[in-house]
Amino acid sequence: MSETDIDPIIGSPAPESKEPRHLRRVLILWAVFSVIGIAVWLAVARFILPPAATDLDNSDNFTLLVFTVLAVPVAMFVWVFLGYSLIVFRVKERPIADGIPLKPTPLLQIGWLSITGILCLFLVIWGLFGFYQETSAAPSNALVVQVTGQQWLWTFYYPQYGVSSQGQVLELPVNRPVIFNVTSKDVLHGFAIRALGVRVDANPGEVTTTPVVTPTRTGSYTVVCVELCGLYHSYMWSAVNVVSESSFSSWVVSQGGHV
């Protein structure tokens, strides 16, 4: 939309001085604030996004980074236009005349639809690509962990080793693919390990299999329940220890399993 598209108010007196070029001002402000916003996000993202312990979670973090970069100009477009209008076009008296009639502008409409359409198409293709990566076939040596949620504790069973974790601990070997088979014994729970990029609903009576994830960094992380599930929901957590293969084998034996 340009200033030439706006009709003067019928019956209003002719302006005494030349009206400033509002659209150009707003576009310049929008561009400046967008660049600043993107720069700030890129600078602070590393402090906001949690460390990733799998390639899948690295992809999640990268998606958040890119999508936020794309969202900043959209948000600034709204805020700058709103802020500029509130400040520049503010009047003390209650307006009595009708607003400025707007004419449809084909170029504006086509441009708006094209830009938003391309943006949405980009997001869809990005999501499909990520979905393909997550649902690719599991490697033959994947570790299977059966996860059971019950108000208000996660329990973990390792069928390949015939052993359950004796406590609020999920032990995982580094650099070995893992598949979680998640279910619930009572109500809906949410099984989430942010550092591994895992988040899936635990449905009563059904087993949901997560994408294959491969922890690539040893360390301590946390399982939390992300569906409000009752009195002690906030206490429904477990520690996640990503350890070396030898430490994992020792742990399996210590829990009563066989290697």
């Binding site: 208000w152 329990t155 009195l231 206490y235």
Partner: protein, 233 residues
């Protein structure tokens, strides 16, 4: 006599109905808040040495002994007794003795058949060491777990063997007849001071069938869930 418009009369009636609604809503809301915020009294473990202590509790199939003043439906709820808030000394061996007067409710998660986290990896059921219990014979569990901010994780879980459904009821407590209880005892070590939660993982709540078995006493502080505070004393 002054005539009032129909709108005025309808307004008066509507206001009265709305007023009753507000009062009733406030009453039910406050009653719910009292239930949610109920904090039972604290039972401290009795010290039996410089680094040891004992805590004795019971589990009942109803609340006549421990919550005698509650109405329906709470009076019929299963409950730990005399309280569900426990305090034990830090850096000590704690012996917990539970007299279970309740019959069995089969567990639905085999994980809780096993004994976890006790000294020796077992519990004593009527003085006999046991590491696991048949799922059909369990009436409750005592499962102690850490909160996310616990600097010293603690996890203890023991199944409580239920008394037979048709057992005679020769024991009289507070005017109520109960069967001879099964006595379950176990020991675990505490670390530095901290706060933990414990809970029963057997669906022994309303109707004793999933998913209803997890409601009522299973979701209410003071019945089948509580806290355990490790403190210096």
């Amino acid at each position: 006599m002054k005539q009032h418009s129909s709108g005025f009369v309808i307004g008066i009636i509507g206001s009265i109905i709305l007023g009753f609604g507000v009062v009733a809503g406030s009453w039910f809301g406050l009653r719910s808040m009292w239930g949610v915020g109920y904090e039972p009294g604290i039972l401290s473990a009795t010290k039996t040495g410089s680094n040891s202590a004992t805590l004795s509790v019971s589990t009942f199939p109803d609340s006549h002994v421990c919550h005698a003043n509650v109405g329906e439906p709470q009076i019929d709820w299963v409950t730990y007794c005399p309280t569900t808030s426990f305090k034990v000394p830090a850096n000590s061996v704690i012996t917990i003795v539970i007299n279970n007067y309740d019959s069995a409710t089969p567990i639905i998660n085999d994980y809780f058949r096993q004994v976890y986290g006790t000294i020796g990896g077992d519990e004593l059921v009527n003085n006999k060491p046991v590491r696991a219990v048949n799922a059909e014979d369990i009436s409750h569990t005592f499962t102690l777990q850490s909160t996310p901010d616990s600097p010293h994780p603690l996890f203890v879980s023991v199944p409580l063997v239920g008394v037979p459904d048709d057992a005679p009821t020769p024991v009289n407590i507070a005017g109520q007849s109960y069967p001879q209880p099964n006595t379950i005892s176990f020991q675990f070590r505490t670390g530095p001071p901290g706060t933990y939660v414990w809970h029963c993982y057997d669906p022994c709540g309303n109707d004793r069938e999933p998913p209803y078995g997890f409601s009522g006493p299973m979701s209410t502080t003071g019945y089948m869930a509580g806290t355990l505070t490790v403190a210096n004393y």
